[in-house]
Amino acid sequence: MKIFVSTNFTPEPLRRAFSPFEVVTGTFNDYRRILGGELGSEIKQCNALLLIIDGVELLSEVQYDLSEAAESARSYALSCGSFAEANPGLTIVATTVKFPCFGPASYSEVRGGLSRTDIEADVYNILAEASRRIPNLLLLDLARAIEYLGEKASFHVGMRYFGRFGLSATLLDLLRRQIKGLVGVPDSPPKKALAVDFDNTLWGGVVGDLGPQGIELSQEGRGRAFRNFQAVLKQLVKRGVLLVGLTKNNAMDVEEVFQRNDMMVLERDDFAVLIADWNPKSENVRLAAERLNIGLDSFVFVDDSAVERGAMKNLVPEVAVPDFPERFEDLPSWICDIVVADYFPTYSVTNEDFVKVSQYRNNAVRAEMKKALSYEEFLSSLDISLNFLVDDLDHAERISQMTRKTNQFNLTTRRYSTPEIAEMIRSNKWMVIAMSYADKLGEEGIVGVAIVDLEVRVIDSFLLSCRVIGRGVESKLMKAVFDFASKKGVKELGATFIPTPKNDVARNFLPHEGFQLMRAEKGGGVEIYSRSENVNS
């Protein structure tokens, strides 16, 4: 993954600063030239353009004149928007601007009509508005990052006056983490599930000893830190993170906490899976992964006990295990600063994310129905209704998200960013089909995606959310692919199956759908298929 970085200071020292990204830099203060011009070949070869504006350098350039600074900053923010619109296939990450705390006009700025805060807010508002409108423009809030670390820790004055490079190693490290979260690292997609311990994690003390009312959970004092921690977890659940409870306790004690302790912020229903018993957590996390039908590498495990964390790291190395804060009072900020920022970063929340927990719970109900009926009876009892959306720009974000997150039922596991999907939707060369699902238990939103290269006449991507696997809808999506392709004059389509350690469930799908095997690599490698329209499967 290659990023071109453009700045208003010496850019070369950034080349090593943002690993794992490969950084390409231009020349000193080249950001205006880049934003005002055509897309150069050097940037075209990169996946993203990152613009970093150092407010101290900006002030220095206009000799600390605030009206000029305001003009310069505003023109930067506006041109980010127009540049992003003109280059929809390129991800643009633009920073906000932060000026020093103290300035020559001191406290009179507020009444003088123009303050540093006004200019900072102006840049933020312009970029934020543009980012809501333009899918390939992402805002990186440098001003907040500097507030978090403090001005003194964020800047390096020695280097600033040695070589016009004023950002400290600490600030660069924080920016590196934020860029990873914003742009995404292809090999480590965001996590899906957060598995939490209960005693001394969700509340203070051990419920088995103190009883459901005796645990530390309160409006004031340390108990409030646990309540705030729970409140953050509750927000994560609302945003689509699957919360899993893994606690070594008697199940009855735990149920009683949910029923009787009114200081609890989390409710029983916030948990997609809750396992309270005395089995090793390494076994229980596998059980939870199975029930949710997601991979173990989708899990983050939070536990105050170093022994439990060590056991999880050793026995289930796929699960991410962050260090736990030393003081309970750090829990509410730690969960946001470290766990959310590094493991659950999201720039856009799709509608599908908001309803995810109820969907996973509905799946449990469907599983019960399935037990009682024959498979065919079960399927028809669901009253499944599918809707196909072809080249619909409104869903570019969700489609991109699906290509990045779907590992199991995915024929080629090709990952695409939102700008890339938007580009395909606009282009005549490609056809992008999204399938939304509803049944009598609820709506699942977009759960299937097919991307067809109409020029080469091949199915580039075909994937299905694991939530709906086994309901026969994959065949319906394939039928839609051929129906829509035929409307565009394409009757025959090739398809590829690229095996990965995770997509075995999709291995026999193409032959099952009537595709003929044309070529296969030896030893279970890539398989190439073809099928013409009039095949009955």
Binding site: T10, E12, P13, R15, R16, A17, H156, V157, G158, M159, R160, Y161, F162, G163, F165, S168, A169, T170, L172, D173
Partner: protein, 77 residues
């Protein structure tokens, strides 16, 4: 502070083999050690030793021996 670690950091920043940097290496006898590379070196040393150099120190420490002197000055031990 270990002089070996300083040599390693300088070599990594200059993108050259650690073996080609000695205790006597400086910008005069090492290819690529210019002022831009010096910023990268100071960033990496800041991350490693927590020492923030002044402008004068950065300008005067374009050699392994000078870098070590300045880092030692900043770390009480």
């Amino acid at each position: 502070m270990s002089i070996r670690r300083v040599r390693e950091i300088v070599a990594a920043e200059l993108d050259i083999d650690a073996g080609s940097i000695s205790d006597n290496s400086s910008s005069d006898n090492t290819k690529g050690w210019d002022s831009i590379a010096q910023i990268g070196i100071c960033l990496a040393l800041q991350a490693e030793f927590g020492k923030e150099f002044s402008t004068e120190e950065i300008a005067e420490s374009m050699s392994i021996s000078a870098l070590c002197r300045i880092i030692d000055r900043g770390t009480p031990s």
